[in-house]
């Protein structure tokens, strides 16, 4: 089975307080030099059958209508590999 990864990130112009909270915690833990953090979501989809153009198109549709809210989020779809 092939794995397709859908990464979802808040759009750059949208304030990400979760990412900011992580960024503020990093120097307290001794991890310095990190100027910014943004937090996103990663979906790993195990796909039955071939990941052809039609399958990818279906996954893009799922990402656009459901996995991401395109009012506030961007997404990317990529095939991670097959066995």
């Amino acid at each position: 089975m092939a794995r397709v990864v859908v990464d979802v990130m808040l759009k750059p112009e949208i304030l990400d307080p979760q990412g900011q909270a992580v960024q503020r915690a990093l120097p307290r833990l001794g991890f310095t030099g990190i100027a910014d953090v943004r937090q996103g979501k990663r979906f790993e989809l195990e796909v039955e059958g071939p990941v052809d153009d039609a399958a990818l198109a279906r996954i893009r549709e799922a990402a656009e209508t459901f996995l991401a809210n395109t009012v506030i989020e961007d997404f990317t779809v990529r095939v991670e590999g097959s066995e």
């Binding site: 808040l10 304030l15 307080p17 979760q18 459901f66 996995l67 809210n69 009012v71 506030i72």
Partner: protein, 226 residues
């Protein structure tokens, strides 16, 4: 015939019974609707209640939006049926694109629970005719994902068309753009807001006030007169 107002129960809805009670106190007949049922059982209006439908997994309201009952609610809302989304219900309405914009995590990342002052900006929607524009009301607010956002063009449109229905007063509890607490669609039949009017309908509980009752009496009047 009595006016029938449906209240949808999704898995994780918390305030469905409070909404039913508010509807009864306003003089209408509350009708329990189940999220898996496409049929609206001849209701005249629908309330999408607060809570954490599907545990807010994925995004608040995102999974509920695809429930069978929402297919019918979306259809009927577009035909003019009054729909009120409270808190999680507002999130379901934005995810459904019945209302523009989206809801984000509160800017301070805390769950917030307080009495909230609001200004009624638009007293012309199906759910606000028993208020007056400029009136200040107090109703409870409790949420985690209440930061309303939309792109600049949408905000301009909402503001210029008078579609911001409620604004937070004194304190913006979540970082919502322009202090927006609630909005309506262009037709004025679909309204969504984060605070909870159904928790302010009896003098003995909640804020101790009944400022929220006007939502339910408004829709009742609108339905009786139409």
């Amino acid at each position: 015939m009595t006016t029938r107002v449906g209240v949808v129960t999704f898995p994780g809805s918390l305030d469905d019974r409070d909404a039913q009670r508010a509807i009864r106190l306003a003089g209408a007949e509350p009708v329990a609707l189940w999220h898996r049922d496409k049929d609206l059982h001849q209701v005249d209006a629908v309330v999408l209640p607060g809570g954490f439908s599907y545990g807010d997994y994925l995004r608040a309201g995102a999974i509920s939006r695809f429930s069978p009952v929402m297919g019918t609610v979306i259809e009927q809302a577009k035909l003019g049926m009054p729909v009120l989304g409270i808190c999680n219900g507002f999130q379901v309405l934005t995810e459904s694109h019945l209302l523009p914009g989206a809801m984000l995590r509160n800017n301070h990342l805390h769950f917030i629970c307080r009495d909230q002052k609001l200004r009624v900006e638009n007293a012309g929607t199906a759910w606000t005719t028993d208020y007056q524009a400029g009136q200040e009301i107090s109703v409870p607010l409790k949420n985690m994902d209440g930061r309303y956002t939309a792109d600049a063009r949408t905000i301009d449109e909402l503001e210029s068309e008078g579609r911001v229905v409620f604004r937070y007063l004194d304190l913006n509890p979540n970082g919502s753009i322009n202090d927006i607490a609630g909005i309506t669609n262009a037709a004025g039949n679909v309204v969504g807001l984060m605070p909870h009017p159904e928790h302010a309908v009896e003098p003995l509980v909640g804020t101790g006030g009944t400022d929220g009752l006007g939502f339910f009496t408004s829709v009742l009047k609108q339905l009786v007169s139409s």
